[in-house]
Subunit: 527 residues, 2 copies
Amino acid sequence: MITGKNYIGNNLSSEGNITFKTFNPKTNTQNDFLFTEASDDEINQAVQLATEAFIQYKNTSGIKKSNFLNAIADEILNLDNDLLQIYKMESGLTIERAIGERERTIWQLRMFANLVKEGSWVDAVIDTSQPERKPISKPDIRKMLIPLGPIVVFGASNFPLAYSTAGGDTVSALASGCPVIVKSHPMHAGTGEMVASAIIKAAKKTEMPNGIFSNLNSSGIEVGVNLVKHPNIKAVGFTGSVIGGRALFDLANQRKEPIPVFAEMGSINPVILLPKVIRKSKNKIAKIYSESITLGSGQFCTNPGLILGIKSDDLTNFIQILANEIVKIEPSCMLHPNIIGNYEKNKAKIKSQKGVSVKAEYVNDVSKNFGQQVIMTVEGETFFKNTTLHQEVFGPFSLIVQCKNKEQLHEIVKNLEGQLTGSVWADNDEEIKYKSIIDTLQNRVGRIIFNGVSTGVEVCPSMQHGGPYPASTDSRFTAVGIHSIKRWVRPVSFQNWPQKLLPIELRNENILKINRLINNELTLNSI
Amino acid sequence: MITGKNYIGNNLSSEGNITFKTFNPKTNTQNDFLFTEASDDEINQAVQLATEAFIQYKNTSGIKKSNFLNAIADEILNLDNDLLQIYKMESGLTIERAIGERERTIWQLRMFANLVKEGSWVDAVIDTSQPERKPISKPDIRKMLIPLGPIVVFGASNFPLAYSTAGGDTVSALASGCPVIVKSHPMHAGTGEMVASAIIKAAKKTEMPNGIFSNLNSSGIEVGVNLVKHPNIKAVGFTGSVIGGRALFDLANQRKEPIPVFAEMGSINPVILLPKVIRKSKNKIAKIYSESITLGSGQFCTNPGLILGIKSDDLTNFIQILANEIVKIEPSCMLHPNIIGNYEKNKAKIKSQKGVSVKAEYVNDVSKNFGQQVIMTVEGETFFKNTTLHQEVFGPFSLIVQCKNKEQLHEIVKNLEGQLTGSVWADNDEEIKYKSIIDTLQNRVGRIIFNGVSTGVEVCPSMQHGGPYPASTDSRFTAVGIHSIKRWVRPVSFQNWPQKLLPIELRNENILKINRLINNELTLNSI
């Protein structure tokens, strides 16, 4: 079933010399399949095919794109248990998690299928002419969103399905009318190839142009770098580390024609616990966070890595309860020896900083590659001054900062780097007293949560997944939900354009019955 | 009336050591006023004030912002003839042009005042909770656009009013809730100071926080560079050359926290003349382009600098007619000796390229600083190979490319750099035969025009002013029209957020009666 080859458009190909295997962290052994990294020639072929496919695909109707996306969902489901097994073998995650993530992937595909079938997402705006206007007549102008061109998507290590081969970036780009070239994540190249085969099958079945999708294997950075530098590539989607995302961002901006990079990167997702709620609900909140911090071995971008409170006996008690709770939880397998290696390294780095104390650490023997959770504490002033403590530790880790007072808490929040999420816990109306701190927090995050945890990212129109740098490279766009399609498009105006040459979305007759802003009024009417 | 000082928030200040004067190109003499460049201290003060003002301003209601913007319009009108005179003295442009540009500026202010008063522009999206959902309950999530923070706007040389101190960038940023610091254009520092005084008056009158607006003088690049590098600045608006825009773009991307730069830069605005329309309407089209090329001495970003046709006797005749027409037009004064200096230099550069011939040039004596129009021609193949010929010549210039056939025309269009606009002229249904060329052109431009000229940029919702690089640094946004506000904002999600802490746009009761997407349905209803 798994060939180890690249999909260059519809063709399986393995011309390169570099080969690699994936790793099963649960058994701590290499998997059998041998993958061949894409060669420079194969990269160029994939981009060339995508460039040609774009000419046809950008003008493909919403209904046809919708059929294609639904067919991808069907074909992924057809992979059935084979997919779940390879997912498990390449990630150390459970079958339950595989099923859940597949469900999310399918849901995303169907959601975008519905979005493009309905059609209003193109934001059609029409201003009809006013020939009689003085001193000069007003022309007829019509505007809508059109796709940018071939897109490169980097598979994420922590979501082998939902943010990889047919994940949020790929699906939103395909929905917009852009061909996609996936640089498959080396940790789950087999999962990637299997999903790619589903996409290719769906593309053939629904008669999509060859080159609309390619899947390239890679073991290092070269394939990704060459893709991002290729002049025909028009945008990049990435989920991963700040170092990786920033490197791609810099590369893309140094091109003769710079292109947008949507990198969803690091975040420590600060949590503010206000005094009254801690007094009243310390047991409940401690239990919730012991679970949230260790969920999926802390390998979520929304993992709560920073808890901020104001020093008090209640906070001390809370920390102790959280410490007691968190060590009760059984550690689970992390994605890869490299991931756990980095986790241990970063944990040790924080531990070695002056003023940091470990409050709880799971120390019992665990299987190889299992992540042992830890919580540490530090005083507000120490945290404020030492930016090493502000860095993400990817894994089941959280740092609790004990601020000396409200003012110090505010100063710390003011100086936080950009974050994907921020959470606030408060008792009845307690939040009113902290309005300015909350307002400051809101200005540093993409999503702000009240009396709840940041883990669990709903796929819905109101979701903003992305925040001020370094949470993401462009806080104006989301990586999750229907509006993520906006990353791959740009508006074009048609002035005095003949009806029959106009895209159907902009013609007088509202053939698709979509929402359009006509002469400043949102309407379903024809002209 | 003109002090030569900087506005650091509400205060006039001139602590720096560098002074400069503006220039009257019509009289070819320096103007009297002496301007003091902003010092490093003044720059930091302006940014600090803007940072503090943002805390209050970002939560200011749409009605209050609307009052502020309308007050700016009123105060600009109150400047009356004084403003028109200084405009004329610093630009060489006519009083009629000054009045027209002031009208556009006022219109933009009123338009954004209406937009923020109405309020739907924040794109409110609400997904209510589903506590009963399995396996986990769905939280309540609500999303809207919030402002980024202090913005730097660079005044444009060619629009002392409409794209400078209170121009499109400033007004859209202020409307969004961002404080603005203008780096005034050195060529019209007096016009800038006068408009700044109107903004400050309006800010005081409507009780806006001090620091919401500053106006900094500069004679070189230092002030702009220091502003863009300041960590508290969150985005940049710029209109000018590719070299200038790219330099700011690079600077902004090299920051620890990169920020978006919206640079509207160079464009040669290609025009395709199809064979049948040339045969039939050569006189009319030649007349239209003789006027469009020389309009405002060619100092518009939408000036048609490239005309593409297929070789024929009709095209030869058209070129001759255009040549005859264009020399009949009286040259007019350009903005500044530097502008005309560059025009002459770039003209000479194109003229010196192999295969280029001058078809018409205004050679009669003209006053100092008047721009003498010229049209040149070149064969398709020569143009295709020599990218020097693809560069913008800012001024009353156009290059006509004679393609040997349809295929060569298509190849040329395919390889054009990104453009603000592209135009197509066709006779009855002739365009159908050239559909693929037109489709290619559409992919290279931000606005595409049928049987009309690109000069004249309507300020309306359907306008896209911005195109693929190097037309602008971010083709996904427009610099003109209501949607230009989208450059200065980002979405934020509020999860399970208490009603009284929510922005009023997101509360259950639709207090502002704005359009909101509630559970996937666009509605004016409350919840």
